[in-house]
């Protein structure tokens, strides 16, 4: 206890923490999600009336919608108790299931941090420890430089207050409506935190926008909402998350991401997510791409007990394009069900999906994807490629693509391969003096290179390191 107190004194969160602790008990009495709960959240955040209304509408839809249960081979969600959500929906509350002290984290998570060599200051922020560290001056400077160009980066809660018109128009209206699925509805009711990015017409943000958010762990709730609006001819690369495991005793993460890609704009959204292995990761991510715009989804799914995540793009304007590059890694006890969805709703639209997965020690990976070419989307093309690597006989690797083609002047191709690591490759590397483990690690690193080469160097290094750790079986 005393060490905890000392630890808190070093931070400026002590006062807040104490205050929240008193509040805690009023929440614990409730079971299940009620209108009252939502009102309290909204009031807490001092939200305008329209946002409260949206939350309440989403809540109603959440109660009406069924759990997704009829998907072939889907992860088992029976453990997800949506009535247990209440204590966790205020990300700044002590009971959200995080821990307040580095020493309280599970050992395997601490090990990972140590092995990844992440700086001490970031360790706490990234691992979901309640303590907050203020962003350093360097990040502030960057922010100011962007603001001069009219670029906006801020916390989503703040955006509701300061940019109400933009948020009101784009927030869970055209892109991801709460009616999309049960967890999108849940998200719409209880969302908190996340990032708001606005890039005005013609502005190019040269560096990836992770530097600021990475330290700002306030954006790392269980129900964070990210809204990116890239106006005509602009360009931005947003990086979400981090490659160290985010720990929470509460096991549901249900985020929402909405991206609006304006005419001829280019948005790249990269995420390397690595949730602790008790987490159910059920997200909804979608982009709407206007004429000539380009959307790129780069994602690495690591960790979690079960993941269901299918980033999607709606190619709405002529000549819009979309690229997906995904990698999934499933180890012991993990079920990673992930893929991509693309709707070609305009002529001359193009999409590519490249999916890689590795399954090991009884883990399951699945590629589940949908490509839909609407009637009238002539001269469109899509190419989907899935490669899966399996390590042993306890693991499972599935591929379930769906193609709906309503247009004849198209070029559609899907291919998938599954195999094991080539014995000859391993033998060759061993003959050059590497041991069996190193050889396999090297092969896997090569296998996932299409992803790592798209990431900024520090992320790529971390991702590679992370895969190595998974391969060693030193995690979990």
């Amino acid at each position: 206890m005393s060490s905890e107190q000392d630890h808190l004194k070093e931070t400026d969160t002590e006062a807040r923490f104490e205050f929240k602790k008193e509040q805690k008990s009023s929440f614990q009495a409730e079971k299940g999600l009620t209108e009252e709960t939502i009102r309290v959240i909204s009031e807490d955040k001092d939200e305008p009336e329209w946002m409260l209304k949206r939350r309440l509408r989403a809540l109603k839809q959440f109660h009406e919608m069924p759990m997704p249960t009829d998907w072939p081979g889907q992860p088992d969600l029976s453990e997800v108790d949506v009535n247990e959500i209440v204590p966790y929906i205020r990300p700044d509350v002590e009971t959200r299931g995080g821990v307040d002290d580095w020493t309280d984290l599970p050992d395997d998570i601490k090990d990972t941090f140590d092995k990844l060599g992440i700086p001490e200051a970031e360790k706490n922020a990234l691992s979901g420890v309640g303590a907050q560290y203020e962003s350093e001056v360097v990040y502030q400077n960057m922010q100011e430089r962007w603001e001069e160009k009219g670029v906006v980066f801020c916390n989503m809660d703040k955006a509701v207050q300061e940019y109400p018109d933009l948020v009101r128009e784009h927030f869970m209206t055209k892109c991801v409506p709460p009616s999309d699925n049960k967890f999108a509805a849940l998200h719409g009711a209880v969302w908190s935190g996340g990032s708001f990015v606005y890039v005005p017409e013609g502005v190019t943000v040269e560096m990836p926008v992770q530097a600021y958010f990475r330290m700002n762990s306030e954006g790392m709730g269980q129900f964070e909402h990210t809204l990116i609006i890239a106006e005509e001819g602009s360009e931005v690369h947003y990086i979400e998350g981090c490659s160290a495991p985010k720990y929470s005793a509460f096991n549901l993460h249900s985020g929402g991401v909405e991206v609006f890609v304006g005419e001829d704009a280019h948005v790249q959204y990269s995420t390397v997510q690595n949730w602790s292995k008790n987490t159910y990761n059920l997200n909804t991510k979608r982009a709407i791409v206007e004429k000539g715009g380009r959307m790129e989804w780069i994602s690495g799914s690591m960790g979690s007990k079960a993941t269901m995540l299918y980033p999607s793009s709606v190619l709405k304007g002529r000549g819009a394009s979309d690229n997906h590059i995904t990698i999934a890694f499933a180890g012991k006890g993990q079920n990673i069900d992930t893929g991509a969805k693309v709707y070609h709703n305009a002529p001359e639209t193009k999409s590519t999906i490249e999916s890689k997965s590795v399954s090991k020690d009884g883990g399951r990976t699945n590629y589940r994807g949908l490509v839909h070419i609407a009637d009238g989307a002539h001269d469109s093309s899509t190419a989907v490629e899935c490669d899966a690597l399996m390590f042993d006989n306890d693991s499972t690797s599935d591929t379930m693509p769906y193609m709906e083609i309503n247009e004849s002047t198209v070029d559609v191709a899907h291919e998938a391969t599954v195999g094991k690591i080539g014995d000859e490759d391993v033998f060759y590397l061993q003959s050059r003096g590497l041991d069996d483990d190193d050889a396999k690690q090297m092969i896997v690193s090569g296998f996932i290179e299409p992803i790592t080469e798209e990431l900024p160097i520090e992320y790529a290094v971390e991702l590679n390191r992370l895969v190595e750790l998974e391969m060693e079986g030193s995690l979990g």
Partner: protein, 404 residues
């Protein structure tokens, strides 16, 4: 889901069907169990994506479609000179009751879904192809011409050790005097003994007011091979499932499919294979052409079980669209539980290559002729897979006729 028992069918109906055929007690029991299963059986699974169901089987109104006691058909059974037995079901039960009893309902679970159970309860026309040990039989032919409103057909193929057989089955429908839709249901069970070889080909050219449901399933023993070929050209709506369970070490299967849809035809074709033993090989090849407002739905499943070491499994599906109003949906699936596997699948959708067309028209070939030549060429890789000459020629003929 309209999974209720049609008023025209009762236990009495089934008893009468069975009595007319002088069937033994166990067969009547199997029929009655299937009938009882109808009350809570579901329609076969259909692929669903957000907001869409790929095939609507609920349109089948069995009140209208089924007239079980008035099933009539014309049948030709041709067996070559060898010792192979090709018998109608009535004769088969009389002459080889043990063979029928052992295999009937063992390859296909009669209660797997509503359409299958209905077929088992009501089938009136059936064939046993029995190939004794070491016998090689070629050119077994079964031709069924449906005459009434509905027909339920059951084909049972049993091959003993080290035998081989090539079977060609055709379905067509005779003109029918009354208005309204018709229904054809055909189940095929293939029980392949050790080291035996079965080549089963089917050509479906039913009239276009017919709904067609067919399920063909084979199980293999050690070293055996079961190959399926299916051509679909007729019917208003076809739901076809072809499945092989590779239960024997070093067994193989090849499933070859071709379809050509026009007007508002709907083909829901499915090829599935389960690798359950070691050193098994599967190859799934499907090609289809769609014209006018036709729609195709394809699912291919390659399931590699945990004990299926050293598996090779391949699947490819290609669709050619001749019209902007057609739709092609595909879902090739891989489910792999053993890493000692080489597996791949691919699916493509496209149209006639404009450059090829330009080249041919520049050589003086009229546009339509050129297009038709290219369509015929598109089917060649599938036709080459067909080992039965007669089936290949017939299919080519039907494709050419449709293009004219």
């Amino acid at each position: 889901m309209s999974t209720q028992l049609p008023a025209s069918i009762s236990e009495e109906t089934v008893r009468q069907l069975s009595e007319e055929r002088d069937e033994p007690e166990w067969l009547l029991e199997t029929r009655l169990e299937a009938l009882a299963a109808l009350s809570d059986a579901e329609l076969p699974d259909v692929i669903q994506t957000p907001g869409r169901r790929w095939t609507n089987l609920a349109v089948l109104d069995f009140e209208e479609l089924v007239d079980p006691l008035a099933q009539t058909e014309e049948r030709d059974l041709v067996s070559p000179e060898s010792e192979v037995e090709v018998l109608s079901f009535v004769d088969a039960v009389a002459e080889h009751e043990e063979v029928v009893r052992d295999s009937f309902g063992s390859v296909i679970d009669p209660e797997r879904d509503y359409l299958t159970a209905l077929s088992v309860a009501l089938f009136s026309s059936g064939t046993l192809v029995y190939v004794p040990e070491g016998v090689d039989a070629e050119d077994v032919k079964i031709r069924t011409r449906m005459e009434g409103r509905s027909l339920f057909n059951h084909t049972l193929v049993v091959t003993e050790d080290s035998s081989s057989v090539t079977i060609l089955e055709r379905q067509s429908s005779e003109p029918y005097s009354e208005e309204g839709m018709r229904y054809y249901s055909g189940l095929v069970e293939i029980d392949a003994g050790e080291n035996s070889y079965v080549q089963y080909g089917a050509l479906q050219n039913l009239s276009e007011e017919t709904y067609n449901y067919t399920l063909k399933r084979g199980v293999t023993d050690t070293y055996s091979t079961v190959n399926f070929i299916e051509g679909n050209l007729g019917s208003r709506l076809t739901r076809s499932d072809i499945e092989t369970e590779l239960n024997g070490d070093s067994s193989e299967t090849k499933i070859v499919g071709a379809f050509f849809g026009h007007r508002d035809q709907h083909f829901d074709v499915n090829a599935r294979v389960w690798h359950q033993a070691e050193h098994t090989t599967a190859d799934l090849v499907t090609r289809g052409v769609l014209d006018e407002e036709a729609r195709s739905v394809y699912e291919g499943v390659q399931d590699v079980g945990r004990g299926a070491w050293d598996t090779n499994s391949y699947q490819r599906e290609n669709t050619l669209m001749l019209s902007d109003d057609s739709e092609a949906d595909a879902s090739p699936k891989l489910i792999i539980h053993n890493h000692d596997t080489e597996a791949s699948h691919s699916a493509t959708v496209g149209q006639v290559d404009q450059e090829d067309l330009f080249y041919m028209t520049s050589r003086g070939i009229p546009h339509l002729t050129a297009r038709n030549m290219l369509v015929e060429g598109f089917f060649v890789p599938v036709l080459e897979e067909i080992a039965v000459d007669e089936l290949r020629d017939d299919l080519e003929e039907l494709i050419a006729a449709r293009l004219r």
